[in-house]
């Protein structure tokens, strides 16, 4: 589904953010990407739907080369859902209109169709009563659930999550993770940048550990938590699991 091979990316002439990253995500697989801040994990998943350009290597998404100048990027991006750390709902649109905008403008669905789909997804994330509110009237956890619903409204073939719970108050994290766990159980292909190791151990198939732009470890979940091979991964795990 997602093939990342030998991706190199530089900011400016000297600073290399991604170093020869190679991995893949199979259909229906849930891959968690973790690592210390500044390790390039967000950058890597933003390369997958070409939100971030990269200079070398290639990424193939459902058979389509992302970094081919001939690729119709808006069309490709519409097929991959993305959830951001800061939700990024559109503040001037009601919740239901946030869900409808891209369905209508990108997929060409009629307003009625889009609203029906939007309502179904709002029900799924438990926010039906808030359909006519504005994003700023919702809590962080609710906003992030809307953001997930907005991405799902496009019927994506895969979902990318960029630290979806990092900006949330602790008591709101689980409501968002619950939605993600359900999604994973339904067989959605997911690439998730997160520090939530509980989520990783519950639903991830594989865990990728990144440090300083490199993929240091790419292992089955049980191997990663059981016996990480690299010293850096061991250190990282001991730090975040010590509490």
């Amino acid at each position: 589904m997602i093939e990342i091979s030998h991706v190199n990316k530089w900011y400016g002439p000297t600073f290399q953010v991604l170093k020869d990253c190679t991995t893949s995500v199979a259909k229906g697989e849930v891959v968690v990407v973790c690592g210390p801040s500044g390790s390039g994990k967000s950058t890597l998943i933003k390369c997958v739907n070409a939100l971030e350009p990269f200079q070398e290597g290639q990424i193939i998404l459902d058979g389509i080369k992302v970094n081919d100048p001939k690729t119709d990027l808006p069309k490709l991006r519409a097929r991959v859902g993305m959830v951001f750390q800061h939700f990024e709902l559109f503040p001037h649109l009601r919740i239901i209109d946030n869900l409808c905008l891209a369905q209508e403008k990108v997929l060409g669905r009629s307003h009625e169709e889009a609203v029906a789909k939007g309502n179904k997804l709002l029900e799924r994330v438990g926010l039906t009563v808030h359909a006519n509110k504005y994003p700023a009237e919702l809590s962080g956890g609710q906003q992030q659930r809307v953001a997930i619903a907005r991405a799902l409204a496009m019927d994506p073939i895969a979902m990318l999550f960029d630290e979806p719970t990092s900006a949330l108050d602790p008591e709101m994290i689980s409501e968002v993770l619950d939605v993600m766990v359900d999604l994973a159980h339904e067989g959605m292909t997911m690439m998730v940048v997160t520090h939530e190791m509980g989520f990783a151990s519950k639903v991830a198939h594989r865990v990728i550990f990144m440090d300083k732009g490199e993929i240091v470890e790419d292992a089955q979940k049980t191997d990663f938590f059981g016996s990480p091979r690299s010293e850096r991964a061991q250190k990282f795990l001991s730090k975040i699991l010590s509490h």
Binding site: L51, P74, F84, H86, F90, P91, A102, K133
Partner: protein, 243 residues
């Protein structure tokens, strides 16, 4: 100072035969309003285009935006009107220059376009600042949903940017109204022009300019009230700048 106050002067016939002195001022008032409205429309259209150019990642686009803004904001408005009115016809091929000079209402069109372009540079700077003040993730979210760059601006970035810059835009609208008075120098007999004519005919300088002052004040009170109403009707529930 021997000054004969005469507030009844407004109801006395003016020597041009077009009714009373008040009629003279009112016709100037209408011309001021017409010039200001046309200039403001031009300022909004050109300001929006240039403001967007300035916010694009493309170097060429932002360079064009930069050059435009610096050209129009670094030259006194008076000089710009002289350029359009007196110099431009001379620079054009003879026939075109002649046609331009003989255009009916040339002072009106020159004033509206000249003031409009001058103000558009200021609108552009504010719009670019408004767009820049939005979180970077907004554009990314729009892009990730498959919206094209144009759709992203149309449905996501511009609606928010314009809401944010509403207060300074109000000031620019007021400035547009006031700046039309410079057009007296190219022979547009708008409100200031009529007040001056009245003073020359009747020698009642204080009455004439008191009336003009009150009329300018009245237009701008209407502008301020209208813009405040617009701002309130566009406010977003719960959003901080929307309160």
């Amino acid at each position: 100072m021997n000054y004969n106050w005469n507030w009844h002067i407004f109801f006395e016939p003016n020597p041009t035969g077009s009714g009373t002195y008040l009629d003279m001022l009112v016709s100037g008032l209408w011309l001021t309003i017409k010039t200001a409205l046309l200039a403001w429309i031009i300022a909004l259209i050109f300001g929006t285009v240039i403001g967007i150019l300035r916010s694009l990642p493309s170097k060429t686009a932002s360079w064009i935006g930069f050059a435009y803004v610096e050209f129009f904001r670094n030259m006194p408005l008076l000089v710009q009107l002289f350029l359009w009115f007196f110099v431009l016809p001379e620079l054009l091929p003879r026939a075109a220059g002649l046609w331009l000079k003989q255009l009916p209402n040339a002072p009106f069109w020159t004033a509206a376009i000249g003031v409009g372009l001058f103000m558009s540079a200021r609108v552009a700077v504010q719009l670019a600042a408004g767009i820049a003040s939005l979180p970077r993730g907004q554009k990314q979210a729009a892009t990730a949903l498959g919206l094209t760059l144009t759709q992203g601006y149309r449905y996501v970035l511009l609606p928010m940017a314009f809401r944010i810059i509403m207060p300074p835009l109000t000031s620019e609208f007021l400035n547009t109204v006031k700046n039309t008075s410079v057009a007296i120098t190219i022979g547009l007999i708008e409100l200031t022009g009529q007040a001056r004519a009245m003073q020359e005919f009747s020698f009642q300088v204080f009455e004439a300019f008191t009336a003009a002052t009150v009329m300018y004040l009245a237009i701008n009170i209407i502008v301020v009230t209208g813009m405040r109403f617009l701002e309130r009707s566009l406010a977003i529930p719960g959003y901080i700048t929307g309160k």
